[in-house]
Amino acid sequence: MAPETLERLLVVLVDDWPLIALGAQEERSSVVVASQRVIAASPMARAGGVSIGQRQRDAERLVPTLEVLMRDPAREVHRFEPIVHCLSEITPTVMLGEPGWIALPTRGPARYFGGEEMLAEEVAICLHALEERQGERFPWRCGIADGLFAATLAAERKVVVTPGESAQFLAPLPIALLRDIALVDLLQRLGIDTLGALAELAADDVLARFGHAGLVAHQLAAARGAPLPIPYEGPSTISVVAHFDEPILESEVLLAEGAGSIERLCAQLAEQGLRCTIATIGLLRSDGYLSERLWQHHHGWDHEGLLQRLSWQLAAAQEGLSAIEEGITPGVSTLIVEAREVLSTQGGQLDLFSAPRHTPEEIERLSLRLEALLGEGVVCVARLAGGRGPGERIALYPVGAAPRTVAPLPPWPGQLPTPNPTRLFAELPAVELLDERGGGVQIDRRGILHGVPVEVVFLSGERVTVAGWSPPWPVEERWWDRRQGHRQARLQLLLGDERVLLLLWRSGIWLLEGLYD
């Protein structure tokens, strides 16, 4: 693996963009939350102890006057557009990921402006002018270094790193800056605290000990070439080009066409076993204007993500248009989607530590999309909890609100033995349990079963013979409270058709609690 030279990039970051996009006032303590976790906080809120990633509840407890805002991704994109537009006047091809982050390849423009320092100055001038025009301030920072990782960190520290010295720049920085939480934790415990300490290790050893994830981290820390650029045979670029004989004016039609193109691109990538981390989307208008943007994604683009970026870019292209000329709007005649940087998907799975294929962050994002579709509180994760009944022993939390660490549960006498029913009934429908004379089988106050169960009658009227049953498990809860306390008992019931039910005896009737399916 020869060390590749990375592309020089200038990165502009806007701090707490989700908050600024919502137009929050600077002097107030406000936060933006998504899935009940803080994703952006104002300086006032931070001063009160609020930090990113904190649970909403905790943040509210720390700062009682906290203003909590919901994240608005559409608005974040829309409000970021002027900044993108402003910077694309410096260089036409800019790279975007999430709103609030933008990168420019410096090679061309640095030569034009007479050096990278001058380019950084030019960026500052443009952004100041924009702030003047818009009458508001963005807390932006910019920096230049080799590759995305180093350039983003350089931007955070507002430095221009000399070409080829990015590794030295990264060396003293803490290892926690890597995104891979599990890996960072492991490295820290092994005494590797800085990026430099990781970069000093031999790549082969890192691969052998930490798998692909470790190798990727090593390459980032050493500011070396893209992780495992696979020797790729076949056409030099993977791209889909769609020409339209009739230029398309309506964005819906173009998006429908775009969805097809993107799907073809994704299919090609999947066929080759590749994922695309940087995609280029080009929109050629019939009047010869080309809108071209690079879109960057850490784990590789998927169909829906790329389609969303296409719609952002399209909205931006059309917005600029209406501002320039009124009257006839030229349509889009050609759409180009190209995979500019590809990685092998296979590396992502080659793992020594059985880490999931997807990071918790990705899962959280995915849950956000599901929540947007289904409403809040529907997408859940489960944790074990204390209790006796099979339903009580599981606690469901909305994704993002679940406790990260779970204390081991104390012993809890009176629990049902394993296995527990695989299906539970929310409503607990009543059933009748009959003995051979047609009378009801009952459980007395001492937890003893009276009568021999022969037949069970469901609410639907269905009658099934009983083939076996267990002794009852008595549950006495809150015996000290006359109103709340109740004696109940559970019974496993085997039916003639080999179904096994879990019945609950409560207040003198049988309820259907679960089914062993």
């Binding site: 066929e271 529907v378 997408v379 994760v381 076996g468 008595p474 399916d517």
Partner: protein, 251 residues
Amino acid sequence: MVDPTHPLSQVPLSEDPHRRQRQRNLLHQVVRGLPPPSGMTERLPLDGEVAGLFGEGGLPLGSTVVVRGQQGQGLLTLALAVLARMSRETGYLGIVNLARVGLLSASELGVDLARLIVIARPVPQVARVASILLEGCTAVLLGDERHLEGADAERLQRRARERAAVLFVLDPNDRARRWREVPDVTLTVTHSRTRGLGDGAGRLLARELSITTHHRRRPPQHTPQMILLPPLVAPEIALPTDGVTRFHRAG
């Protein structure tokens, strides 16, 4: 670059895209001196007792599996047992529209609850939800596909293949609308026998399931395999629970 003189390079690439990709990967790894892919990279990791169901080839990621049989005969137990090790080792498991799965039983069968995403109430947009889940989960379990049209089923199967995720569908025989697409693997529970429950004595210990497996691309097998779920662990049987002992003393 791949060395064209390497003996592996001489092997003609297969027509089948899946196989071709594997060949390519292998070639790159051999030439670059990387360790050969473990079985985990392309197949669903399976616990011992269910591993035998899928034969030599295992269950490749990207497959769709449909579980058939009578409701209440252990179909869900089977599905959870097959997916358990995956949730511990490879990735996330998504569960759609299974009204109130006993998640405790899932945990007992070995599913890692930390890698489980549940849609907590029945939703009408099953196809859309499942398709989003397939993007982030290694396996998605569908229980109640009443709302699925044939085209949606086909699209979901394709999506699973594309995302290299396993789509698991419970399709009990008494369902009005069945899963019409031809899945990669069909597991049919032909017979189930309960162990441990008697007339007022004992308790449910395990289920003996007779299962026939039908692979789309392999010759049909007619001899059912027996598996015991959950697998019996000796000390578990020997120890009566609190409730049971108290009952005996009382009686």
